[in-house]
């Protein structure tokens, strides 16, 4: 059996890798991808990116606002999107 790179399911397999894997740059010099509704997988990337930024204290103000909102009202569907700070 030979490995293949050029069929439909191969594309899906590749997308999983390119969207979800690769080196992660843990630094606050990276533009956040939060809020990008790519194809499901991206939500995880967005969340991971957000957590990374939070752990560096970059978005603390945003985080506190969101927490206050979500604990106050319960399920909040429309959250303000975090914006990367330069």
């Amino acid at each position: 059996m030979e490995p293949t790179r050029d069929t439909h399911y191969t594309l899906v397999d590749l997308l999983d890798r390119v969207l979800d894997k690769g080196i992660v740059v843990y630094a606050d010099i990276i533009v956040s991808v939060a809020g990008i509704p790519l194809i499901g997988v991206n939500l995880r990337a967005a969340l991971a990116g957000m957590e990374t930024m939070l752990s560096y204290g970059v978005m603390q103000e945003w985080d506190q606002k969101v927490r206050a909102k979500t604990t106050g009202i319960g399920k909040q569907r429309e959250l303000p999107l975090p914006v990367c700070l330069s």
Partner: protein, 267 residues
């Protein structure tokens, strides 16, 4: 650049889109081979370099899966080019963009990152040198497997017999019993297959990563999803092993690659 309406992009600074880190200190322009025709070039530090293009400090973004596909494929194409050229690369995930910050330019920030993460990056380069990633997905057809379980499991074949000799109402209860028993046996069988196949595949690869399984198509179900790291052109033995698994009744295998080692460069 695709921009979703809902995304506020207040950042106006310059960015560098990162494709991969390559095993070379070469400073070179690779031409307009990047995402949306961007000019791709390298930012070297000592004996490694980052493969980048210049862009606004905003993520590439779209809600259209077709557009996403083409962006992601463009990313992969550049990583492939770099892989061909330098032999060993550490790919980055899609949409990793370094921006300028506190008066330090994006390009400088990329070089600073290469410098501060140098030892780690070099360790990863050595780990994947000369190797490629292959995807292995194993599927089975639960109905076919269930048929063979009916023949081989004493508990299930006994229940089958009992159903035949019962009245309709009682037979219904036995049928439920049978379904539960089958479900248990299928789960046990899936566990056993996983262990067996894992051991068989393990012998032919250097590293192995277990990925989440995904829905299969039609009558099939994915029971294993693996990323395998092995010398780039030495996939013959793995291929033979997978052929053996593929030829078992009710099983099928997908074998993809060679890919740059996306799954073996993370933390």
């Amino acid at each position: 650049m695709q921009q979703d309406d809902k995304t506020e992009a207040l950042v106006t600074g310059q960015g560098r889109y990162l494709y991969c880190v390559a095993d070379s200190g070469e400073q070179v322009n690779l031409g307009a081979i990047g995402i949306e025709g961007s000019k791709v070039y390298t930012i070297p530090y000592r004996d490694i370099c980052a493969v980048v293009h210049e862009c606004p400090a905003e993520p590439y973004n779209s809600t259209d899966p077709e557009v996403v596909n083409s962006l992601v494929l463009a990313h992969q194409k550049v990583v492939d080019e770099a892989w061909e050229r330098w032999g060993t690369v550490l790919p980055l995930g899609f949409d990793t963009i370094v921006m300028d910050k506190d008066g330090v330019g994006a390009e400088e920030n990329v070089r600073n990152w290469l410098q501060s993460d140098y030892d780690n990056l070099k360790t990863k380069i050595e780990k994947v040198r000369g190797k490629a990633e292959y995807g292995v997905q194993i599927f089975w057809e639960p109905q076919v497997i269930a048929q063979s379980l009916i023949k081989t499991s004493p508990e299930i074949s006994q229940l089958e017999e009992q159903i035949k000799s019962q009245s309709k109402g009682v037979a219904y209860l036995y049928k439920q019993k049978l379904e539960n028993a089958l479900k248990r046996e299928l789960e046990a069988k899936a566990d056993q297959c996983f262990r067996d196949f894992y051991q068989r595949i393990r012998r032919h690869v250097d590293s192995i990563g277990v990925e989440k399984t995904k829905p299969g198509g039609g009558n099939t179900q994915m029971i294993m999803n693996l990323s395998c790291l092995l010398p780039r052109d030495k996939s013959n033995q793995l291929g033979e092993e997978l052929e053996n698994i593929n030829s078992i009744d009710g099983f099928s295998v997908r074998f993809t690659g060679p890919w740059p080692p996306y799954s073996f460069v993370g933390t």
